[in-house]
């Protein structure tokens, strides 16, 4: 049973299990990436997906695409207004619908919409934010809708704790910390690359030519790579790999 497995593994887990909750990145000896890990949304992943070899070669993880730039204190009501919370994220159809409403709560001053009216997916891969991104509610619908819409990473100056924790636990988006106010130097529509590496991770804005160092995602990275806390726990042997019948 899951609980007893956890108990017996308690003394050892701290070596292998990332802290999925509040920790922003810190330096690991090396990050293991498996490029064949498919970052599919949790709801479409079958329960027998897990249990891959842990010894994978080091690899960079790269996201390339357009940026969508927002400001400070983007709260969960702007990310996904409360009226859409009746959609249940663990239901595949409703998961997709949630994506279509991502960032629909932003004021009209944001002329470019994150998801075009009538579309289900966004054309922006990278969201760039300021301070305290994701503040407000604990609703997991916030990182979920961003991931469902097709965003791969958020690069912000700082995060609200529940949003950060939920991003890691669901594996929906990589919440990356920048060291400077990237949101002041990038514009929506800029072409950019985010490279997650063993050492410094970077954000490269191809439109302006500037490169920004990002804080390493640390142990939160493998959790998101695996597809969230449950997938990671199974991979790390913390809970049984096949869901109990």
């Amino acid at each position: 049973m899951a609980a007893s497995s956890l108990q017996s593994l308690n003394p050892t887990f701290s070596q292998t299990l990332a802290s999925p909750n509040t920790s922003p990145p810190f330096r690991s000896p090396f990050l293991r990436f498996n490029s064949s890990f498919n970052l599919k949304p949790l709801s479409t992943r079958s329960s027998s997906f897990i249990a891959r070899s842990a010894a994978e070669p080091q690899e960079r993880k790269t996201f390339h695409g357009l940026c969508y730039v927002v400001g400070d204190n983007i709260d969960t009501d702007q990310i996904i207004p409360a009226e859409f919370l009746t959609l249940v994220p663990s239901n595949p159809d409703e998961y997709e619908k949630l994506g279509s409403y991502a960032l629909i709560g932003l004021p009209a001053s944001y002329k470019d919409r994150f998801v075009q009216p009538g579309e289900m997916k966004t054309k922006y891969s990278i969201i760039i934010g300021g301070e305290n991104f994701g503040c407000g509610s604990s609703r997991e619908h916030a990182p979920v809708c961003l991931g469902a819409a097709g965003a791969k990473a958020v690069v912000a100056q700082s995060y609200a704790r529940i949003f950060f924790r939920n991003s890691v636990a669901t594996g929906e988006v990589y919440p990356l910390d920048s060291e400077v106010r990237v949101c002041d130097e990038c514009k929506t529509g800029d072409v950019a690359t985010v490279e997650l590496r063993e050492g410094d991770s970077v954000l490269i804005n191809h439109t302006t030519g500037k490169e920004y160092k990002l804080k390493p995602i640390g142990d939160a990275g493998p959790v998101i790579d695996a597809g969230g806390i449950f997938a990671y726990a199974r991979k790390a042997g913390m809970i049984p790999s096949a869901a109990a019948a």
């Binding site: 609980a3 956890l6 299990l17 663990s90 407000g136 997991e140």
Partner: protein, 507 residues
């Protein structure tokens, strides 16, 4: 060294962070704190089995723990923890509601198996409250989904509602989860309470660790009864002085959030103590802890005392173990307030930290007033509003919406006499003042909700509200302007049609 912050406010005296022996805590600046503190602590966290926990930079070893550290240590079956420790914690109570419950249980079943059983059917409290009195089919379906899960799992505490036309026809239905948790005796000192709602921090008023989590974390807890948490450092807020008659806990927390900003307490505990706190009722303490999340706080906590024990023992016979911060515990920040010098404040659009004195906003014309929610819809909140209306003896100038948080609150509004009002109840006073009839208890329009939600802001209007957040679109319309305020300030504003300091009517 802690950065020297000179506060310009005459009421606040902030002492630098005590030397904790952790180099990472030297810079309490909002921007970099969690980045730099994790860097130097990370090595210690990874090797949890290392017996020595030396505070290498200062040489002194603090052995005292704060309330939060003690509660988490006990829940993790450890004798000692320090901020930054990642620990597995046993959960005493898990709460969920109609919006997040289906998702949390969906994840639980997917991950633990269709036939899996929850870790403890008596430690889960399911409280439909968010989108109840609506014709929205998905919202209604979500309550049905929860009913099925509770039946299948034999969940002991499910405050169900089936007759949406008359809330009183539902004997089990309570209303707003955070108020219901307290009223039904689920909040107890020393325990760990988690909820799929950010305002779960409200329960910290009872001297317990209470915080909000997402569906995935909740799904994990449903199966295992445990959660991985990082021990937060504690910011201490000492409030002394006699509470002026026109001031309420809402003013205190808005004052504090205005001081430290919406990210001022990110990842930290906010511990409230002092003579003022000791004088507050449980409902006022709940209001204070309720908005800890609006400062980014992980949890809020108030040392339990006779007031707490009285409240709790009247509602539950489950034994509890109160906990208190040690005298030599380390706090990452110390704030002191002389409450007798504070004035009623509001949070202007569009942020809970956009603080202003109520009296300085008297030229702001408003379109409506909303009194409700876990923050400002409890019995004492309505009593306060009624007291002000009665003292004024006038009629409201704008639509004034009243949304009692729970069935009990609704009944109190209709049954309890308001002190000093010659035997009149809140309901009678509200009627005489021209307010809307108190509506069915739920979260209501605090967070907008489905389009047909009562009192939803469907137009770009100006609203004074006793709720907790005023980000764009919070109550519905993106251009709606929400002024967060205490029940006194909300009532005063209703009478004048402008944002109004309650001293206009209370002296």
């Amino acid at each position: 060294m802690a950065s020297a912050v000179i506060s310009s406010s005459p009421f606040v005296c902030k002492s630098p962070a005590k030397d904790l022996g952790f180099s990472s805590f030297r810079k309490p600046s909002q921007i970099s704190i969690h980045g730099c503190q994790k860097k130097s602590i990370s090595r210690k966290i990874v090797s949890v089995m290392a017996p020595q926990r030396s505070s290498s930079t200062s040489g002194s070893v603090k052995t005292g723990m704060t309330m939060t550290e003690k509660i988490l240590a006990k829940a993790a079956e450890k004798s000692h923890v320090v901020p930054g420790d990642n620990i597995w914690v046993n959960v005493d109570v898990l709460m969920t509601h109609d919006v997040c419950g289906p998702g949390a249980f969906g994840i639980f079943k997917r991950e633990f198996g269709e036939n899996a059983k929850v870790w403890d059917s008596e430690k889960i409290v399911v409280i439909p409250d968010h989108y109840i009195f609506t014709t929205d089919k998905r919202a209604n379906r979500n309550v049905d989904i929860m009913r099925e899960h509770c039946r299948e799992q034999n969940i002991k505490y499910f405050y169900d509602i089936t007759d949406l036309g008359d809330f009183r026809a539902n004997p089990d239905y309570k209303g707003v989860c955070h108020v219901a948790l307290a009223q039904e005796g689920h909040c107890r000192p020393g325990e760990v309470l988690l909820g799929t709602d950010s305002h779960t921090c409200t329960a910290g008023a009872f001297g317990q660790f209470a915080t909000g989590i997402g569906n995935t974390d909740a799904g994990f807890v449903l199966g295992t009864g445990k959660i991985l948490l990082k021990v937060p450092p504690t910011m201490r807020f000492i409030l002394d002085g006699e509470m002026p008659s026109y001031l309420q806990a809402k003013d205190l927390i808005l004052q504090i959030i205005g001081e430290i900003s919406v990210a001022g307490a990110t990842y930290k505990t906010m511990e409230f103590s002092g003579t003022t706190i000791e004088s507050l009722t449980m409902e006022e303490r709940m209001t204070l802890c309720n908005m800890v999340v609006e400062a980014g706080g992980k949890n809020g906590v108030i040392p339990p005392d006779a007031t707490t024990f009285n409240y709790v023992e009247n509602r539950t016979s489950v034994p509890f173990q109160p906990v208190y911060s040690d005298g030599n515990a380390s706090f990452v920040a110390d704030y002191r307030f002389d409450v007798s010098k504070l004035e009623p404040v509001v949070a202007k659009p569009h942020s809970p930290d956009n603080r202003a004195l109520a009296r300085e906003c008297k030229d702001v014309k408003i379109d409506r007033v909303y009194i409700g929610s876990c923050t400002g819809g409890k019995t004492e909140d309505f009593m306060a509003a009624a007291k002000l209306f009665h003292a004024a003896g006038k009629q409201v100038k704008v639509p004034t919406f009243l949304v009692p948080a729970t069935q009990k609150v609704w009944m109190d509004v209709y049954a309890l006499p308001v002190p000093g009002a010659g035997g009149k109840t809140c309901a009678q006073i509200f009627e005489e003042a021209g307010c809307d009839t108190p509506t069915s208890p739920s979260c209501g329009a605090c967070l907008g909700g489905p389009a047909d939600t009562y009192a939803r802001l469907n137009e770009p209007q100006v609203c004074v509200s006793t709720t907790n957040r005023n980000f764009p679109g919070r109550m519905g319309h993106k251009e709606g302007q929400i002024y967060l305020a205490s029940p006194y300030t909300a009532a005063a504003s209703a009478l004048t049609g402008h944002v109004t300091d309650p001293r206009e009517f209370l002296q």
